[in-house]
């Protein structure tokens, strides 16, 4: 009898726990559950206009933009940059009267660099009433979330998810270059400007970004007749000692080392190459942006390093200066390229919503349809490029800028 009773109690407790979870959660998501439900319904069926207006009326006529990225763990630097920069953009927009006269609400959720957690964050934002998604920050998470957002037909723009798989669905657009484009652009630049003829590559095989760029770079290089004399990989578990990779490059007589990696590892490579007395040119992609800010790194070693990047924090145009000053004031550091991408992403959302005359009372799916057609017609002058346009497949058209580090500053190569 006792057993039976305890069984019933356990079952009841667990049930109440699970049931409680559901109701608590919707309540804490700051919209009442009926709103969420109405919106969810309108996504599913997208025929009940009464439902969708109902939902918007209850949410107070604001645009709800959600963001997803890692703000804890190893890749937190990128997620935090995106979160902060988007916050600046949203605040500016709100201060200037919002989008189409409606204020913008912004909510950023952590995904811990885990695909599964990223989808959880997405679902959480949906409960909050998100209408447009700016995220995810990293490629892998972005692919997982894009599959979900396609089901809901929610407009999604990723600031920095650069893999091609991110934009296979028609509702997803990118602000950054795709990895293949960067690889091709880098190979073209090196060949066309006669920077070098024998190239060594050091890349991170465990990183989607790095291996994605390398794969296309290798393809384009062989097509263009650029000789790759050594291609050495490292992995996330093994990224402190690069002497083997550098030695290979030196032995094979490389006159340029291509580094499609992030700046933390690149700074180590530069100092180790210096110790070995390996004097050569280094060439990188947008991941190298930020190398001058690495702690305990002798910035003079980076002299002469070339990189293709859409953004440099010390550019002197008004928009960049204003953004960098504001970011510095609020967060006490220089923004990196991820921050600039996120800032542009928010302004892109603003532009397409204004182009389509979208109001918050429209259903998520209608906003998406309008924004999708708007994306192919807008042209944005952002921090990461002038006159950015998008094709229907979601990739951005903007010119990469080739920078060279001279006198401790990023200088545009003319």
């Amino acid at each position: 009898m006792k057993k039976v009773l305890s069984m019933v109690l356990v079952a009841a407790m667990t049930m109440s726990l699970l049931a409680g979870c559901a109701s608590n959660d919707t309540a804490s998501a700051s919209t009442d559950s009926s709103t969420t439900q109405a919106q969810a319904d309108s996504v599913d069926t997208s025929d009940t206009s009464a439902d969708s207006t109902d939902g918007a009326a209850a949410s107070g006529e604001t645009f709800k933009i959600g963001g997803i990225g890692p703000i804890t763990g190893g890749a937190a630097v990128y997620g935090i940059a995106v979160m902060n920069a988007a916050q600046i953009a949203v605040d500016e927009i709100n201060a200037a009267g919002g989008i189409n006269g409606y204020q913008v609400e912004y909510n950023f959720q952590d995904d811990e660099l885990d695909n599964e957690k990223s989808v959880n964050a997405y679902n959480n934002l949906k409960d909050w009433g998100m209408q447009i998604l700016m995220g995810s920050v990293t490629s892998g998470c972005c692919v997982a979330v894009a599959a979900e957002s396609a089901k809901d037909n929610m407009f999604q723009i990723t600031p920095s998810g650069s893999s091609v798989d991110c934009i296979t669905n028609p509702n997803v657009f990118q602000v950054c270059f795709t990895d293949p484009n960067q690889g091709i652009a880098a190979a073209d630049y090196i060949k066309d400007n006669n920077v070098a003829s024998k190239v060594a590559v050091i890349y991170d095989s465990s990183d989607v970004y790095s291996s994605g760029i390398y794969a296309k770079f290798a393809e384009e290089a062989s097509a263009k007749g650029l000789e790759i004399v050594s291609a050495e990989a490292f992995t996330a578990d093994n990224k402190t000692d690069f002497s083997v990779q550098l030695q290979k490059a030196q032995e094979n007589g490389a006159d340029l080392v291509f580094l499609p990696i992030y700046y933390t590892e690149a700074s180590l490579i530069l100092s180790q190459a210096d110790k070995m007395g390996f004097d050569t040119k280094f060439f990188g992609c947008d991941g190298l942006d930020g190398i001058l800010g690495v702690e305990n790194f002798d910035a003079s070693l980076a002299e002469g390093v070339m990189l293709l990047t859409p953004f440099a924090a010390d550019a002197t145009d008004d928009a960049t200066v204003a953004f960098v000053t504001e970011y510095n004031k609020r967060f006490g550091e220089n923004p990196n390229q991820f921050a600039a991408d996120a800032y542009d992403a928010i302004y892109t959302i603003k532009a397409v919503l204004e182009a389509g005359n979208v109001t918050p009372s429209m259903s998520v799916s209608d906003i998406c349809e309008s924004a999708k057609s708007g994306m192919t017609s807008v042209s944005i002058d952002g921090l990461t490029g002038l006159a950015m346009t998008w094709s229907a497949d979601g990739a951005v058209n903007k010119a990469p800028k080739a920078m060279e580090i001279k006198g401790g500053e990023y200088k545009l190569i003319q």
């Binding site: 667990t14 695909n115 892998g140 692919v143």
Partner: protein, 357 residues
């Protein structure tokens, strides 16, 4: 009915089954009436995955008494073999449930094969060697998959450990495992219902194994190896059996995982050392050797960090504190004493004795 009254074990098992079925029914009805948030809906499959994993590890840690720190590795093996199969046959087998069932069987077989191979040398040893070897296994598997490139074209399969370019695929070829980018575009076959069926199946296998002659042999090895050897039990054989089954079940969880998300990558976050520890955490907090406890703790601890999202930055901090409190509540001798004194069971008993008086 007599069996229900007289056999404590049987009663316990029925309670475990009922618990799972009742929760399933409640969640299903909540889903049908729309009283469940999107977040919860998205969490249902992961909860099933981790419950299955926790049961698998409990079989290894609680019943067999061997510590394994590589169950995320077995999950990884199952996930990639299952997803590989599904991706290859997505066009051939168009009936999703059939394909999914085949994928599960393949995932389970491959994972148990790896478990078997690792077990052959290691389970002959005494001591904590299994923990060390499985720990290494998990890391090795993750790294191997990160450099593995597999493609398919009209000529068959191409393998490479270098990069995508050296696969030399023909026109129209398809890269299936793309190194660090893993497998993208696995069909989305997992569902809460499938997860539920798999949990029941897992429970059925594990609980029946425990109650069988083999199960008693396994537990006797845990309790005293020398004594069980002396009565003629083939220690290595039974150890291998339990460990292989445990690995296979973890593989099933992996297949479920692979078919839940669109992109499958072997990252430290999902298949690394930390994941193995998390699964061990479910088992330890739920009670080592207590299958029902594993189910409850896996469910609660998977849901907890997501439900704390409202607390923003303090989320992971609070999660850690909750874990410490749970640990103390479960194992501290002083608390155990208190729990004995003020338990519901005691309360009822006292009442009864008073009534009698």
């Amino acid at each position: 009915m007599n069996r229900f009254k007289n056999n404590k074990k049987f009663r316990d098992n029925i309670i475990t089954y009922l618990l799972v079925i009742v929760i399933f029914a409640v969640v299903e009805s909540l889903k049908a009436t729309g009283h469940i948030s999107s977040l919860m809906k998205g969490l249902l499959v992961p909860v099933c995955i981790y419950i299955i994993c926790a049961i698998a590890l409990n079989l290894c840690v609680g019943i067999l008494g061997e510590l394994s720190l590589g169950h995320a590795g077995f999950m990884c093996v199952g996930a990639f073999s299952g997803a590989f199969f599904s991706k290859c046959t997505a066009e051939v087998i168009t009936v999703a449930p059939v394909r999914f069932i085949l994928a599960i069987i393949i995932g389970a077989l491959v994972a148990s094969l790896f478990g078997f191979l690792i077990g052959i040398p290691v389970l002959r040893l005494k001591g904590d060697y299994l923990a060390i070897v499985t720990l290494a296994f998990g890391e090795i598997i993750k790294n191997v998959i990160n450099v593995l490139y597999v493609g398919k074209d009209s000529e068959g399969f191409h393998f490479s450990l270098k990069d995508m370019v050296s696969l030399h695929l023909k026109e129209g070829g398809q890269v299936i495992i793309n190194g660090a980018q893993g497998i993208t575009g696995t069909p989305n076959d997992s569902s809460f219902e499938a997860g539920f069926v798999l949990i029941i199946l897992t429970l059925f296998i594990v609980l029946n194994l425990i109650d069988s002659r083999d199960g008693r042999a396994i537990m006797s090895i845990r309790d005293n190896t020398i004594a069980s050897e002396s009565v003629g039990i083939n220690v290595t054989r039974y150890k291998l059996m339990a460990f292989t089954i445990s690995a296979g079940i973890a593989g099933v969880a992996g297949v479920l995982y692979a078919h839940n998300l669109n992109s499958l990558m072997a990252q430290p976050k999902n298949f690394g050392y930390n994941m193995s520890i998390t699964i061990l955490l479910f088992v330890v907090l739920g009670g080592i050797g207590n299958i029902r406890g594993s189910i409850i703790s896996a469910a609660v601890l998977t849901l907890l960090p997501e439900l704390l999202r409202g607390l923003a930055d303090y989320r992971m901090l609070i999660y850690a504190i909750v874990l410490i409190i749970l640990m103390i509540f479960n194992w501290s001798p002083a608390i155990l004493e208190l729990r004995k004194k003020y338990s519901v069971r005691n309360f009822i008993k006292n009442k009864k004795t008073k009534e009698v008086e």
